[in-house]
């Protein structure tokens, strides 16, 4: 082995000897961690697909199964709290796989000394959100750790849904082809900026609301309205850009996004400008990116607009045959540039 190769390997080992915040960012480092460690050891056909939810077959029925942990800081923010988020997040992961979410579990890790009043508020909003989304929280677990050993409260939820055979392809996006349209159900960047603004250390007054919402109702509407849905993904950590860059990665199609079609609320934009963030990379908790057959695009938009969480639905780009494997953005001023996955950690503990 040539010396340079050995030093490269050594360097990589030295560089990666500790877990960094970026490994949990939902961006490139998380992506690498999943591929290089979890998939490597857990190794099975379901996991290999690396979809938001695994599709399982159980006595002739197709089930969708997923899990997610929530460590958002602060635990209360405009538009939601860690409990609501924990329900919405898992409901959405199931829904974007094409499934109807049915049952949830809830695991709590609580720091000694945490206020009962806050705990009740959190649990109450979980119950309310579950009711709204039409899911039942059927099992759970509670652990309490010494003061200082976790920050207030962490919640894990897992969920099961049922999925119709004709929707199984959606999670993988195996039917995407050039000409398909990319649709989103509204503005981007709201959740990340709402949480950031709620952090005391920034000392910024803002009434930016998180978009945190269960989208299974909206998704049910579009699946009923059209059989042309090719792919869905909730644009959470890493934001819209990461979803699209990840989707295009290693595929034989490209993606073009129109910056002028994106909706970024003025306050979110102002806040992003102030702090130097790009809204394309900011987390959303109530936004689904949908890829549809071009003939179905209008129908899907109409179905979204009819839902309370899709009033600002719009086409934001399309699948192309040029630049395969890459996502591009036509900038608002008429320029053109590449859209990459989030590198490193933009905002820790956003969900």
């Amino acid at each position: 082995m040539p010396f340079t190769v050995i030093t490269e390997i050594l360097k990589k080992m030295i560089k990666n000897d500790k877990v960094l915040l970026g490994h949990g960012s939902g961006g490139k480092l998380s992506h690498d961690l999943v591929s290089d460690l979890f998939v490597k050891y857990f190794n099975n056909n379901y996991l290999d697909k690396q979809t938001d939810a695994a599709i399982l077959e159980l006595s002739g029925n197709q089930l969708s199964f997923t899990t997610d942990s929530f460590v958002v800081d602060p635990i209360f923010f405009p538009g939601g709290n860690i409990g609501k988020l924990a329900v919405c997040g898992t409901v959405n992961d199931l829904a974007v796989s094409g499934a109807t979410p049915l049952y949830l579990s809830a695991g709590f890790i609580i720091e000694e000394g945490f206020s009962f009043e806050d705990l009740e508020t959190i649990v109450r909003s979980m119950a309310e959100e579950a009711k709204k989304a039409g899911v039942v929280i059927v099992t759970g677990d509670t652990k309490v750790v010494n003061r200082g050993k976790c920050d207030k409260i962490f919640i894990n939820t897992a969920g099961i849904g049922k999925i119709e055979t004709q929707h199984v392809h959606i999670g993988e996006g195996s039917r995407i082809k050039p000409g398909d349209k990319i649709i989103i159900n509204g503005s981007i960047g709201d959740h990340g900026m709402a949480v950031l603004a709620a952090r005391k250390e920034l000392n910024i007054q803002s009434d930016i609301q998180s978009d945190c919402a269960s989208l299974n109702g909206l998704i049910q509407n579009i699946l009923t309205a059209s059989d042309g849905i090719k792919f869905m993904r909730d644009a959470t950590r890493g934001g819209l850009a990461t979803v699209l860059a990840e989707l295009a990665d290693k595929k034989d199609f490209g993606i073009t996004l129109e910056e002028s079609s994106l909706l970024v609320r003025p306050k979110v934009r102002a806040f992003c400008e102030l702090l130097g963030f790009d809204p394309l990379y900011i987390a959303n908790e109530g936004k689904v990116v949908v890829i549809v057959d071009q003939d179905s695009a209008e129908k899907v938009i109409q179905a979204m607009i009819a839902n309370e969480f899709g009033k600002d639905a719009r086409i934001i780009g399309e699948i192309t045959d040029g630049y395969p494997g890459k996502a591009w953005i036509n900038t608002g001023i008429g320029g053109k540039r590449i859209l990459d996955m989030l590198a490193g950690e933009q905002l820790p503990r956003i969900c």
Binding site: K28, G332, G335, R337, I338
Partner: protein, 361 residues
């Protein structure tokens, strides 16, 4: 949004693009000195709107990029001291030192906190009287006045546990050194926010002695396109001069109050620049009067021998001699996730901007 939308107007940008095309008859190389400009140029895809006659070079204006690896090694050494809290702007956290980075030290248990303002460090200092706070001061006149204000405030309020580790620098010596080194530049897109503090006089020599145009530009697409047009006109007419495009922020005399504060706290010293080496009177050291707030004087650490990455071209790239894509490590062993050199880490670094926005063109 006011002050943004009007400077991101597509029609206006395209009109400027057309005007530049009409005006530019001979090849011209323009250097954007400031990393903020590099980022904007790439983020908005401006190169795709310029004629082939115009070459944009990225200059030495990304503070993280030009700072020495020794600075980082010393910061890492401070972070390993007991009872020390390091406060820093987020940019530095992933920059490779000789054998470690600040985020790896953080994962190892060092108390390293990202702040948005140096004033937050003062607050941290007040809340942790038994700890020593070391703020990593990097940047040009955009950040150095805030560092000066923090020291003055600590002096006044007798906050004795706040220390600044200064790598603050000034730009003109580097702009002159580039030309002295024979880098082929026909004009500078001069930094907007630095100039808001310094005023225009610092560029006088560049225009008069070196016959290079300097246009002080804002950071929005319309600003940059207009600045490019102004430089192209100067070049075509062979009339290099200092002009302000960024009139809404920059006054010819600059910000006198901020400069007084800088002068009170800092004194010029020779400083090392990546790619350029040691430049006389290009760095800002803390004056003796404020030595109690100078981390270098108050905290003793042993710093490991500096080891630079072989093959990393950050030096050449910072001088505009090489384009990031010409570096063998670019997008291979050097990526934003696993950076070999500082230009790949900082948001304002040329390699980072190219990797993120312009990798495959």
């Amino acid at each position: 949004m006011r002050f943004i939308d009007e400077y991101r107007d597509k029609e206006l940008v395209l009109k400027l693009s057309e005007e530049i095309r009409k005006t530019s008859t001979k090849p011209v190389s323009l250097m954007e000195v400031c990393g903020g400009h590099t980022m904007s140029i790439q983020r908005f895809g401006l190169p795709s709107l310029l004629p082939v006659t115009i070459r944009l070079l990225s200059g030495p204006g990304c503070p993280v990029c030009v700072s020495s690896r020794k600075f980082l090694d010393q910061a890492i050494a401070y972070s390993r001291l007991p009872n020390v809290i390091i406060t820093t702007y987020g940019d530095l956290i992933r920059v490779p030192g000789s054998t470690s980075t600040l985020d790896r030290e953080k994962a190892n248990g060092a108390d390293i906190r990202i702040v948005y303002s140096v004033m937050d460090s003062l607050e941290i200092a007040c809340k942790n009287p038994d700890k020593k706070i070391v703020f990593l001061g990097i940047g040009f006149e955009t950040t150095s006045p805030a560092s000066a204000a923090a020291i003055l405030s600590a002096y006044k309020q007798k906050i004795s546990n706040f220390h600044l580790f200064s790598s603050h620098k000034v730009m003109p010596p580097a702009m002159a050194a580039l030309v002295d080194e024979g880098v082929k530049i026909n004009g500078y897109i001069a930094p907007g926010h630095v100039s808001a503090i310094t005023g225009v006089s610092i560029y006088k020599d560049i225009a008069e002695k070196y016959h290079l145009g300097c246009v002080i530009a804002g950071f929005e697409p319309v600003d940059l396109m207009e600045a490019i047009l102004m430089l192209v006109r100067q070049f075509e007419d062979n009339e290099p001069k200092v002009e302000i495009q960024y009139r809404r922020a920059v006054r010819p005399e600059g910000n006198i109050r901020a400069r007084e504060m800088l002068d009170e706290v800092f004194e010029f010293r020779d400083d090392w620049w990546r790619g350029l080496g040691i430049l006389p009177a290009s760095g800002m050291g803390i004056r003796e009067k404020y030595a109690a707030f100078d981390a270098e004087k108050m905290l003793t650490v042993e710093v490991e021998p500096t080891r630079e990455d072989k093959g990393c071209m950050c030096g050449e790239i910072l001088k505009g001699l090489k384009n990031p894509k010409e570096c063998k490590l670019f997008a291979k062993s050097c990526t934003p996730q696993n950076p070999a050199g500082p230009c790949m880490v900082s948001n304002e670094g040329a390699c980072h901007a190219f990797y993120r926005y312009n990798r495959n063109t």
